[in-house]
Subunit: 183 residues, 2 copies
């Protein structure tokens, strides 16, 4: 009844995406988000620092015959501006922290995360949406979360809506969602 | 694009309500929620401690020819159990804090709020929904908010989903939403 984090993320994206949308997946991971974006947009730029993630995302896209809609980039999302020259991005999604079900030693870090978020917001068009899914149940996760919250809480409300969506009675540091809409 | 608090509240209620629903408005206030509930449910029990709120809600209902669907109760929502004998409530909404645009000296208080929430959850049927819209920009508001958060964060996750939904980059203590789903 009350949408979980991932379905709610998709509901938000579905409202924004059209067949002409240019979008970014900042953390390809297992490829689920990239595939969803490829199904619902014109073109996806999909980043990951792990070769394995790039390969498994590529396999998923090929199986769905959507490979040509995606530029796969084996690098960190903080390098976004070096790879993408599109002036205006319609939507982006970053999974922050670790990839659930995988090696918790490969994590995003506050410095690169904040740079990636900042650059992404600059590239977002008006009416565009940046979604951050924040996993923080790992070493250093709470610090990254706090720095990120401090940053987004300070975004000027005339330019951005920052929604926090999360379940607050769950154990084991469940992920929560930050949805940033550019006005 | 990202739904504000009140529209999101209505989206959640719309998903739960049917023509057979029995619902509660814990704080009639200006009558907007009671009217919305009357339009979308079988019967509404609507409480307010202010006679003025009861009268203005009654006027709204009469104008919409929905007066007979609502039992108006001039008392606090913490007295819920004394007035309502229905075994199972489908949904309820409480606005906590003060009534926006009105006298900030008439406020809800932590003690009565917690009793009202506790009784309401007990009366809620499985699959039912309790929505709390929390205004806290008044004297004592932050204390009420903290006590309430402590209470809902401790609700067992096997029995309840507790969603917090709010914009976190706004000035002047904007209200936020707590949606509690009973499993």
């Amino acid at each position: 009844m009350i949408e979980r984090i991932i379905p709610f993320t998709r509901s938000l994206l579905t409202q924004v995406l059209t067949k002409d949308s240019i979008v970014v997946d900042g953390t390809a991971g297992n490829g689920h988000d990239t595939l969803f974006l490829a199904e619902n947009a014109k073109h996806v730029y999909s980043f990951d620092i792990q070769q394995e993630a790039i390969l498994s995302t590529e396999a998923k896209l090929k199986a769905a015959k959507l490979r040509e809609r995606v530029t796969l980039i084996h690098d960190g999302h903080e390098k976004f501006a070096s790879y993408v020259s599109e002036a205006e991005i319609d939507a982006a999604i970053f999974n922050l922290g670790y990839l659930p079900g995988s090696d918790k030693s490969v994590i995003t870090l506050a410095d690169t995360t904040l740079k990636a978020v900042e650059d992404m917001l600059a590239a977002l068009k008006r009416g565009g949406l940046l979604i951050l899914v924040v996993y923080y149940g790992h070493d250093g996760g709470k610090e990254e979360k706090e720095e990120l919250l401090q940053y987004v809480e300070a975004l000027p409300q005339k330019q951005y809506d920052v929604l926090r969506y999360g379940f607050i009675n769950q154990k084991n540091d469940p992920p929560f969602l930050l949805a940033i809409g550019k006005k």
